[in-house]
Symmetry: C2
């Protein structure tokens, strides 16, 4: 195995060395601290102060003490709302000073410690509380302990023998730490699995697993405690696995698509002030969390007809990823959000934002350019109509669509997830997940499908290479505050009716024999709020029962799935299913509770399912006319195909939150038409 | 009512007068007739010749004779394939001369006449066959007869009284012809309904129906044969209904999104040669049909790894629209495809193509700029991976995505449908329908929802204005020829399995209690091929059973729905359902039959359901290893909302056809990275 340079050092070197600091909002915020926002992520200085306070505190004397999670412990929701929107009789200009606090999850002395630290004054941080976790599960793995575990492999004698037995060179071997999961039993040690691969001639070591060999690492003792070499499968060849430019083969033959550049002759249309983004009728706070990645907060839309700003979303983020593993809870997504590549990940007109993670020792580590913001000109239409029915004239009205995209990419091991939040002037928010990266494979002796006589549990995507069937679930926590805090979840169920044809019996005097109407069901408790979107047609709406339009319709937003609606088919008693039981239904609704953030529980590594969304919801709390939270899961059953190898073309799915009687009428009705001179603008590139 | 200038005259004036002829392929084709293609739509000269031949023929002596449909009667599929791809031993360069033929559906003497006309030599057309339609239903309505029907309204005395009774001015009244539908009975006269509205201060007369008044027009006698004034409902006010720029109110307040222009510094990347479009690895023929609108034919993709061009789609088009009405069959979609607005409907870098319709008298009428083609730079990613697991390096590979979009817009009365066919370098074709335009409303006495005490069958979207619940169905005919003509339809059903844990009983030695695998079901007959995509997870694939990859996987494409998966909930015996019974299932598969094009039957106006997809499929023909056709319906249950008024923001849904073991590996693996200098290109606009 090659000498392992600590990745964090390299990351920092890469980030600082090669990426120009383009419109870095974090730097701007640090410089212009006149406008701190209570939801701003912890700054480098705050992270430093928080961790120093923990280390200085007598509450956790054991050493070493490693930081597994450091994140903003945001102020209570009513205080944040008062800050952002003012309170009755108190204009929002007079913003109360809200405390800055952090939540720390650390490991020390073989225990998981939760500490809350006040860092309102970063020069005088103080530990507010401390508790030891007594339940099941462990905090997310740190990068350093994964590196340290990997470093054990070459020194593990049985492993060295296995490597030699297969005719491989240890220098070519790369290992990867995988969460162990939970399969019953209690009192688990904090272990992880290690799987190893062969790089050598290819960067795509995932395509060349050393199959049959597993190691178990005790992360607290940092020692290999289990080793197994089941069977010596062939190692798939390196040829054809690399994806790097210049290593994947000659470039595709001509013709290539023509290059295209989006030019904004008047500059950008959005403004980022600290972490607050303003664009067209939207305003929101764009934050970052080590575990969730991007966090969208306090999203509101300006209603031009009403002349007021109206609330839509209090806080939204990806609560959990699940790919048999629980990626967010087990590994902290923010740590796997690598720098976005300008012109590739985001178009040329994008702006970039940084985030800060904490390393194991409590030092802040910049995750540079890990989010981008750009206006998208996809050539779509916002609305149109051609009217030919009027005499003497042909009317054609078209309004081109421009939207604002916030993007983050998480490269959690082999897979890459591109996460988009797209804001539209119509008031819609579209959420899209695009799956790409390297599909997970197992080495096999098969070189042709004809050799497969029993269920192989996957697709042969190359010689000796089986890509295994698996699922992807991306769960969103969306605290919708539709025009206010208290909402209800309404299912507008499309219901077929028979027409008797006889008004005396309630029918309509028409030859139609059937029709459909809407049966409105308001969810009373959490059980009502759990839904499989495939069980029958309905418009799923989140309404404000205290707000009505001038016509008396309840203001709301509805949820429209667009692909990726898979739900888990695993048995309820199967261990991964017990740990993420929410995957049986795409929609869950709970009453807001500040501590309920992580759908698979706070301690997701080796969790047993006793914490998390399903556990909280067993209380069957009321969700009617309450401050409610929508939990929505995008799901995909992945049968791999050869096109997915060695790296898969993006596969996208998502959903839309769309205004539904939120506005009195079409909010983009009065958008300006495209300039008649737009197409005559003389644009060119040198 | 204002003096009715024939719309066709105005259309021509508008088209010729104001639209620059930008890259008009039809003109180029006429000029460079050295490369005629057997699937090219009928030219103006050919339409003229065909109709003259019909009028000159003694076969249909009755007058007047009106042309309701004139379209290409394409050559038999084996001949077209031989032309396009050659035959074994016969290179495609030696293209056989294929005949040019037209299908004409005309009305004369109270009958519907089908004529086939040879126009291989446009100077010597000849009628090949003639038949009188004996079954139910009528051909699509012509524009002229709709205009003529509308002209009858002001002279209809009872109608004039109804207008006066409501205090309206006949000058402000605009009427619209609606197909009558069928509600049982036999031997229908060829009638249509007429509904009238008030324009006056607004262009949006659809928002101001004269509710309670219906007229029935006998189109053959061109006389009003039925009149009913049920009840004098209030006419909704004009205020707030207009959508025209400058009439809808002041422009939205700042800030607007920034303008953006897509600049292609090296020009366009696609080429249109006659009607053949070539872009990146795609090649296809883009035609036009009076009834279907755009027709994509002979779509093939170049496989760079194999060094050959491979077939995907023989012919694809929208076979039917259904919005309670059967828009394509009843009214000819091509007639409602109005000129696209540059910079609005299509971006600045688009090219435009014309089509030709035939008017009632057999004259060709140009539908200018009714299709556009453009490269889309939406800022999306084709594939990516960031690799952090290798020591000493952080690898980041990203390939930005560029796709080719073919777009058509159909404004069939009040609604506008934007239809996109998006070709991706990955080999996928994405189909998207975006719904916009004016939602259909009924006048009502309600001015507030609180007044509604019984089912109103719709949403109150403005005072006195109910937008009625309805469905939209867009049915695609897709003759897939995956790597060859004979294909099979395979359902890869995701099947949950229990793990016994005991290899002796077929289980796996793992603590997992369940897993899912794939049960492969090959559809044998048409009944097997009918599917509701909501009935359980499955990958739906169209494979070539005679072609396998090097690894032995069957080459194929799969269908991935992305929203708009509604299926009809109407009763099977309800009349609209009988006429379009295919709407109960999104997927149908039939064996190819040249005459089976129109899912609701050839004579869709007042059809009874005895022709069309469901009728053909009752024969339950074999579809395994046959030349098969996929019929896929996008469906939407539309509960209207106030945002839909007066014109709705686009609502999109679609599906993807995605290569699935078609390629040996990712076909865009070897795409060039974005130029490192891309973002430093100096682009500006004056």
């Amino acid at each position: 195995m090659k000498a392992q340079v600590p990745l964090l050092v390299m990351l920092t070197a890469v980030i600082l060395g090669s990426m120009p600091m383009v419109n870095t909002a974090a730097a701007a915020a640090a410089a212009a601290s006149s406008r701190p926002h209570p939801l701003d992520p912890l700054s480098a200085a705050e992270i430093t102060a928080v961790c120093a306070a923990v280390l200085a505190s007598p509450l956790v004397p054991a050493r070493p003490l490693h930081f597994h999670y450091v994140g903003l412990d945001e102020p209570d929701k009513p205080d944040v709302l008062a800050f952002a929107y003012g309170t009755a009789g108190s204009p929002s200009r007079r913003r109360p000073l809200l405390p800055r606090r952090a939540l720390v999850i650390a490991r020390a002395g073989g225990q998981s410690h939760e500490l809350r630290v006040d860092v309102t004054d970063a020069s005088r941080p103080s530990v507010l509380s401390h508790a030891v976790h007594r339940g099941a599960g462990f905090p997310p793995l740190t990068l350093e302990e994964q590196f340290a575990a990997l470093a054990l492999a070459p020194a593990c004698a049985p492993f060295a023998r296995s490597v030699r037995r297969r005719g491989l060179r240890m220098d070519d071997v790369v290992c990867s730490v995988l969460p162990a999961g939970w399969f019953g039993g209690a009192g688990a040690r904090r272990v992880a699995k290690m799987q190893c691969f062969v790089a050598g001639a290819t960067a795509n070591y995932y395509a060349r697993p050393i199959e049959g060999v597993t190691m178990v690492v005790d992360l607290d003792r940092m020692a290999i405690v289990g080793f197994r070499d089941r069977e010596a499968y062939p190692v798939p060849k390196a040829e054809g696995t690399d994806y790097r430019a210049g290593k994947a083969g000659p470039p595709l033959p001509e013709p290539e698509p023509a290059p295209g550049v989006v030019v904004q002759p008047e500059g950008r249309g959005f403004h980022i002030d600290g972490h607050v983004v303003r664009w067209a009728n939207w305003e929101f706070h764009l934050g970052f969390d080590m575990r969730a990645g991007a966090v969208i907060s306090l999203a509101s839309v300006h209603d031009a007809d009403a002349g007021t700003r109206r609330r839509v979303l209090y806080r939204g983020f990806v609560s959990e990823y699940y790919r048999t593993f629980l990626d967010a809870g087990e590994t902290n997504l923010g740590l796997w959000a690598y720098p976005l590549q300008p012109g590739g990940d985001c178009p040329d007109n994008a702006a970039y934002l940084d985030g800060y993670n904490a390393d194991q020792d409590g030092n802040p580590v910049k995750a540079g350019k890990m989010m981008c913001v750009f206006e998208r000109y996809a050539g779509d239409v916002a609305w149109r109509h051609t009217e030919s029915g009027l005499p003497d004239e042909l009317i054609a009205e078209v309004r081109p669509d421009v939207s604002l995209v916030v993007r983050m990419v998480v490269s959690a091991g082999n897979y890459d997830y591109i996460l988009d939040w797209e804001f539209k002037r119509s008031g819609s928010i579209k959420f899209v997940v695009s799956l790409t990266g390297l599909v997970e494979v197992k080495a096999t002796s098969y070189t042709h499908a004809d050799e497969i006589t029993s269920d192989a549990h996957g697709t042969l995507v190359s010689e000796n290479t089986l890509a295994i069937y698996h699922d992807h679930y991306v769960m969103y926590h969306l605290d919708l505050d539709i025009d206010g805090t208290n909402n209800s979840f309404v299912k507008n169920v499309i219901t077929a009716k028979r027409n008797t044809g006889n008004p005396a019996t309630g029918g309509a005097d028409t030859p139609r024999r059937s029709y459909w109407t809407v049966r409105r069901e308001v969810a009373e408790t959490e059980a009502d709020g759990q839904m499989d979107v495939g069980t029958g047609p309905a418009d799923l709406a989140f309404v404000n029962p205290g707000k009505k339009t001038r016509l008396g319709n309840e203001v709301g937003y509805r949820l429209i799935p667009a692909g990726a609606t898979a739900a888990s088919v695993l048995a309820d008693d199967d261990f991964p299913q017990r740990r993420a039981s929410y995957t049986k239904k795409q929609v869950w609704v709970t009453p807001y509770n500040k501590s309920e953030k992580w759908a698979a529980g706070l301690y997701a590594d080796q969790s047993t399912g006793e914490d998390g969304l399903a556990a909280w919801s067993r209380r069957n709390r009321g969700i009617r006319n309450e401050d409610i939270v929508l939990w929505y899961t995008l799901g995909l059953h992945h049968i791999p195909y050869q096109e997915d190898f060695p790296v898969m073309p993006t596969l996208s799915g998502g959903f839309e939150l769309r205004p539904s009687n939120f506005f009195e009428r079409n909010p983009v009705l009065r958008a300006r038409p495209a300039s008649r001179h737009g197409s005559s603008r003389n644009c060119s590139c040198t």
